[in-house]
Amino acid sequence: MPRDVFQFRGEEVSFEQGQTVLTALMNAGILEFRPGHAPICGMGICFECLVRANGTPVRACMTPAEKGMEVSLDTI
């Protein structure tokens, strides 16, 4: 599967097309999202994986990773 990167905290995170922002980040060793928040449900219910992607707060587990995305933990 083709690989791309998105930006997260000033670093490039590599992902395979079809992965979500959650799984790309977890594969890169990021298991804690907003401080004290660890993704648990994997299905869009718990909101522990909340990130800001291209300016919008989204659930990382429900968001396909896209080339050039800007992802941060700067959310409410």
């Binding site: 992902f15 660890a38 993704p39 648990i40 707060p57």
Partner: protein
């Protein structure tokens, strides 16, 4: 206003079965909505069965209009819904609710540790790209899903550290024999046991997690299990927010329906895990039944009997995997209970209701709106379910402004 004749909410097995029949008997009049980009639901996640392929074909042929990546934030039994992804209401004449289930989480020291997901949760992650090859994975909690996920992860190269089921062996065995012979799943059961049976321990549960190590007990002895990732959850519970908002009667924790999937609201049907946790077979039968009812046609009697059979299966499964009382006693006073607002178990144990706890400690007021902690508190304290108010999912205020403008 986008108009639809038949609206199916959820593209898991129940929704797919409903939409598939509707596409055949009323092509072009059915709209299906799902929160994910792909069909198959949150647990089943199967896009290669004949049913899934049939639905994909119907979508291509424009017999089903699919709206993916969309979540309902508001809905009325008068016949419309509001999506987070659209600036217009979507109207319906008949609505089939197939929103499925999610997992029950119970707190114990360390349950909020990193790398600890649900059982369906870790499967969902693995099926959407999480690398599990060579990772040591612990699975514990309750339900047949534990075995299915162990198998799924093992086939992706995960090292299964153990599968610890809290239900005792005698109950599970009885149900297993039933499943095999009364419900025709003998081959499936044997296959599964051959692949992952060696990892499974019954009558065991987790009491604590610390730095990638779990303490597992059987009530007498304890053992320490190392893990890189864990899948821990205590069975499935239905996603009742939307049916509740729509005024569907809820009975014993499920949407009440007659044997043709009619809810208490005349234009609304419900199918699948919403009516009982019966798994994919129940969902497929009920989804089809709901479609017949939506069309106001008499369903074939064998289908009614099939749905009844899987409803019985669901009841027997619930009995076999009932949660033991020890699981209510695992949390310590400083164990987090509400993850969104980081509220500790000790603050809540003396509250008298969910509403009381919400007012005083903000549980249920975070992003998940009580979806995780609400069920936990119902199980631990016998509290009422969190009250439901729109928006069902967080949405920008401008969405409502756009809807009003376009109405």
């Amino acid at each position: 206003m986008t108009r639809s004749e038949f609206l199916v909410v959820g593209a898991g097995p129940a929704g797919l079965a409903a939409a598939n029949l509707l596409a055949e008997l009323a092509p072009g009049q059915v709209t299906m909505i799902d929160g994910q980009p792909n069909l198959g639901g949150q647990i089943w996640r199967n896009t290669s069965t004949p049913l899934s392929l049939s639905v994909l074909n119907h979508i291509r042929e424009k017999q089903i209009h699919l709206i993916p990546n969309s979540w309902i934030i508001h809905a009325s039994p008068d016949g419309w819904i509001i999506l987070d992804s659209r600036r217009e209401k979507v109207s319906f004449n008949k609505l089939i609710l197939a929103t499925g289930a999610r997992e029950l989480f119970l707190p114990y020291p360390g349950w909020t540790s990193l790398g600890v997901m649900g059982v369906g949760g870790i499967q969902a992650a693995a099926k959407t790209g999480l690398n599990v090859k060579g990772k040591k994975i612990l699975l514990t909690g309750s339900g047949p899903l534990l075995l299915a996920v162990a198998d799924s992860l093992q086939s992706k190269g995960a090292i299964i550290q153990g599968v610890f089921e809290q239900a005792p062996w005698n109950r599970v065995q009885k149900f297993g024999i039933r499943t095999a012979f009364q419900y025709g799943k003998a081959f499936q059961a044997l296959q599964l046991m051959a692949k992952v049976g060696k990892h499974v321990h019954y009558g065991h549960w987790v009491t604590r997690l610390e730095a990638n190590q779990a303490t597992i007990t059987d009530g007498k002895a304890t053992q320490q299990i190392e893990f890189d990732l864990a899948g821990i959850a205590f069975g499935l519970i239905p996603s009742l927010e939307l049916p509740t908002l729509l005024g569907c009667q809820i009975e014993n924790g499920f949407v009440r329906t007659d044997d043709k999937m009619q809810t208490s609201q005349p234009n609304i049907l419900a199918a699948g895990e919403l009516t009982s946790i019966g798994g994919v077979d129940a969902a497929l039968a009920e989804g089809e039944l709901a479609a017949w009812a939506a069309l106001e046609l008499d369903p074939p009697n064998p289908l009614i009997q099939k749905a009844k059979k899987w409803r019985r299966y669901a009841e027997q499964m619930a009995e076999a995997y009932a949660l033991r009382p020890e699981l209510k006693q695992l949390a310590e006073p400083d164990t987090i209970l509400c993850r969104c607002e980081q509220v500790q178990y000790g603050s809540l144990v003396n509250r008298v209701s969910f509403r009381d706890a919400k007012i005083n400690h903000r549980i249920g007021m975070g992003w998940c709106q009580g979806r995780i902690c609400g069920a936990t508190c119902q199980h631990l304290f016998d509290w009422e379910a969190p009250s439901i108010r729109p928006p069902l999912f967080p949405a920008p205020a401008r969405r409502y402004a756009e809807i009003l403008e376009n109405d």
